[in-house]
Symmetry: C2
Amino acid sequence: MKLGSLKEGGRDGTLVVVSNDLGRAIRVPDIAPTLQAALDDWDTHEPELRSIYRLLNQGGQADAFPFDPAAMASPLPRAYQWADASAYLNHVDLVRKSRGATMPPSFLEDPLMYQGGSDWFLPPTGDIPVASEDYGIDFEAEIAAIVKDIPMGAGPEACGDAIALLMIVNDVSLRGLIPAELAKGFGFFHGKPPTAFSPVAVTPDELGDAWTGGTIALPLISTWNGKEFGHPDAGDDMNFTLPQLIAHAAKTRPLRAGAIIGSGTVSNKDSSRGFSCIAEIRAVEAIEQGEPKTDFMKFGDTIRIEMLDAQRASIFGAIDQKVVKYDGPA
Amino acid sequence: MKLGSLKEGGRDGTLVVVSNDLGRAIRVPDIAPTLQAALDDWDTHEPELRSIYRLLNQGGQADAFPFDPAAMASPLPRAYQWADASAYLNHVDLVRKSRGATMPPSFLEDPLMYQGGSDWFLPPTGDIPVASEDYGIDFEAEIAAIVKDIPMGAGPEACGDAIALLMIVNDVSLRGLIPAELAKGFGFFHGKPPTAFSPVAVTPDELGDAWTGGTIALPLISTWNGKEFGHPDAGDDMNFTLPQLIAHAAKTRPLRAGAIIGSGTVSNKDSSRGFSCIAEIRAVEAIEQGEPKTDFMKFGDTIRIEMLDAQRASIFGAIDQKVVKYDGPA
């Protein structure tokens, strides 16, 4: 099943069921006005939404209309929690090596995770407003899960069962602000402006065999200014599965319905597949050529992030954004 | 005006207007079902709620019922953003000194702020469930603001104008988990389990002269196991005002209605006023006596946090909690 949120309605948008081929969508006000409302009582609403989805895929549902990614907000336009990990340690290892540091062995057992802001997500297609190119504007292509209620201390198996939906992510990062911020010791804040998610969120069964129970075993394609920048496979070189990351998040707190847990930048050891963020190619350049050669994003740059199924059809729709100069509050 | 949320209703509770003396409360379903709904359209709903508040204080409103702190959820039982600073640098300075480190001079100009989890807050009265006393269970008494929509890049003046409500806070902290977590570089996560806020949130005008425009110039009283532990004045020794902290939070992102920004542990240079967290008295003990003497909280311990007006009446109601052992998911 595929679900999304139209920009219309209130701050939480309007829930729509989207057809498997991303061709048509339908509002479902009699089931739930918003995706958060559906998640708040998922066990009741999921089967109701699936009934609509089946009819929609069969060509039924006269009230359906053409699906337009540009009309979509983030599947959750705002959320109550967004926690993002760094589960592909090849990324961490490369970035550390490029500055002459090594990765602590504990990183292999204890996931890195930061708390992100979630009161407003960027729409999947549209602008990324940034005040200055000097901030070092970067994308990070990732995968993420939206969960049901999870009690504190739940293990990976229970956490896997609690995954309601999956998305792909652009975890926009301001590299120039991060080193000073992390040196202060309190973690990311300015360096992680609002994140973007895919036009639709999908249930794990929608992925067939590509859903391993732990991750999505498919390439995640990042296209920067119209040129493919990377297609690392989200199924390879992931040191912690999504259920393991969710269990990590739940160690000292419950997670409540609609919480989003991300994988961090997808990164493979096989560098011929390219990269999911600019910081990583810069790290490789620093290691191999003595210094980074690739600049960060400029105003006007575009980034497209997508995942295709075996038939080369888009699963989540494309994150398709443009970096624009933000001139300050009106 | 004083507002709170009954535990009844859905995940966001049920909005009530509470009388100035915390004696009576009334549901306002015709205005807004929840505090978040009121904040989503604050400029419309605030005057409507104030009308009810005036009548309630005059003894009117036949539908009012006795106010019971135990029936209250957090004013926002869940929120879309909770960002907490460390604006009383005396606290930071002491903790650093106790481990032989100094505070970087940049801390005087660039606020410390971490992103907290916000998908579930502890009720103001009730249990703090923790899996192990070895986690180093601590309270942190703070003040916080709930804001209206704020555009990215807004300055302190605009941010001050956007403060809708004020609360007091227990930012529960697990000291034993924090050093290893911060050493990983991604900031707090396990060390900051769910936070508690006061039974009611109040508009700044409610504080009279005690609201300076930047902070609340009143003592914040922490009582641990029935004994006063500290009453530092939130108006003294604050290095960054709430509007400055909010502007810091809005540097690279907009803040959306209902976002909560906290001050960090209230701490005064005059140590005769006591402390707002155990970590700080332990730091002073380490500096003065060579090692910390005071243990962290044990199962069964209670913590009460309150702020009184000039007539010794409780402004926000008391945060009144008990630490209990959490035995894991059922």
